[in-house]
Symmetry: C2
Subunit: 342 residues, 2 copies
Amino acid sequence: MGNTYRYRGFVLTLFLGFLSVGCATRPGSETYDPLPSWNDGPSKQGIVEFVRDVTDANSAHYVEPSERIAVFDNDGTLWAEKPIYSQFFFILDRIRAMAPDHPQWKSTQPFQAVLENDFETLAATDRDALAYMMGIAVSGTTTEEFEETVKNWLATASHPVTGQPYTSMVYQPMLELLDYLKANGFTNFIVSGGGIGFIRPWSEAVYGIPPERVIGSSMELKYEILDGKAVIQRKPQLHFLNDKAGKPVSIERFIGRRPILAAGNSDGDYQMLEWTTAGKGRRLGLLVHHTDAEREWAYDRDSSSGRLDRGLDNAATNDWLLIDMASEWKLVFPSARLPGSE
Amino acid sequence: MGNTYRYRGFVLTLFLGFLSVGCATRPGSETYDPLPSWNDGPSKQGIVEFVRDVTDANSAHYVEPSERIAVFDNDGTLWAEKPIYSQFFFILDRIRAMAPDHPQWKSTQPFQAVLENDFETLAATDRDALAYMMGIAVSGTTTEEFEETVKNWLATASHPVTGQPYTSMVYQPMLELLDYLKANGFTNFIVSGGGIGFIRPWSEAVYGIPPERVIGSSMELKYEILDGKAVIQRKPQLHFLNDKAGKPVSIERFIGRRPILAAGNSDGDYQMLEWTTAGKGRRLGLLVHHTDAEREWAYDRDSSSGRLDRGLDNAATNDWLLIDMASEWKLVFPSARLPGSE
């Protein structure tokens, strides 16, 4: 009898131990930190309060899981966009790779400037000529060939400042935010000004966001039968520029629901946050503010890429949270490498 | 002791009984029928074999759940499209409802014909004039107002032949197919020639397909601030006609993966099936063949809506399954009402 009770006591201890381990790692418990790379600043507090409000069935702000749509800009919000958008480096490399089939590019601007690494001429090239070259660089293949091209490039290319693979230049705190939202029944979408065909090949591996939840700028596509096989060809004409007021329009077109959370970092995201937070009930707008010249880059109003001016003026009025990268993020990149370190 | 063993025997019986009930209702077991409204014809056999092939981890044709994308046409594939597309009846009712604000319609064709129920004139109206009127009928509101309009219409309108609500005119065997695929890790999408804004308000309730998985024809949208509030306005211009070669293009644009199963019923779905079944590995193309004048309608090559001609010619060559509605479906509509019965 004595032994039986001791045995039962042992089992009970094990069981309670298991329960307490369970509690320590269970989302929602006091000891669990779903956002370990975030300091306990206003942004983290605001995010955690928001998630609690919309997921607590007893809250006045409760939102059904199907309506928990979160939209994220990519460049400057989920991964670095300096010294210039990563897709631009891809385009330069594509032009170089395609050049042997286009001998006339040796004497045709702005192609010539790319081939001669003449960045002064490139910087002075007008928008339309650049757009034309970009169209050439991302077209002329089937969609499936293009996917392979992007994957191959990412496997070998490295960021010009850090020497890291581009897909390592993602923000650890934002990866945690994506996971935290997913664990709380949210569905995350990317809504980028970048090319949809450039992001989809790696979004699932890097962000856990499958291709069907990536919205971006897009090229014209053409269905055709090539050598007896059905393919979709990428054409050099822009189909949709997913920026500014284009973002809420594409959210409506692709998702058909008004999100309850939007995160961006530039004035190109202004209307996306405005549209999201103008909806009924509890909403959250987030702007990553690049304040960290040490660990990343510091820029806002005067930046050529990722300019944040109107958003900075109106964030407080709109109740959007400005995420101060320097003070609110314990860590920027998963590898914790500084720009410039090899 | 005797009592204890009898008790144990009773528990064992209960437990085995539970197991056997479990087996009888478990998908994948021999006694479970996931498609009870389908006769044991070639289509049902082909579907079940396909699903087994792509979900069995030991099969050479195994497909990861994330790649199990299935696309379905709507009109004539998931719900009835006779005597004419349901959306057309919605448009007629919209014109009638909007008429008091447009007194000039009393003497402007084709609006006048709608208001006077002059179907002879309507039938003789040219395509562009009809398209213009349809554009007017589905625009001039915000996206959220339009959603309410569609929901309100469906709550009160009834099919002119059966007197049933339009959302009851769905095919029971196809509802079972959607559920069966979902239970087997597929993600179902609607890829319709109909308006995306007309289908999304009810697709989740009727088909279990949420708005973000509905692709369709779409109108131009415009983001604006109206009385200080962010809204998206529906414009009267067509943005994209999601038919024929437009279907694979929009599948690529929205989903970014080539589906492994496509179901349609007309030549408007030809390229969608062609694109789907041209991919590597095991694929399935399905065409609902409307052969049942008793329980639904019989039509194919000569039909004005839902014309199936090229698909009928090439289904066998392409290894697509022609679903013979008359012989392969035990039941057409969930309510089992015949057209014409009230």
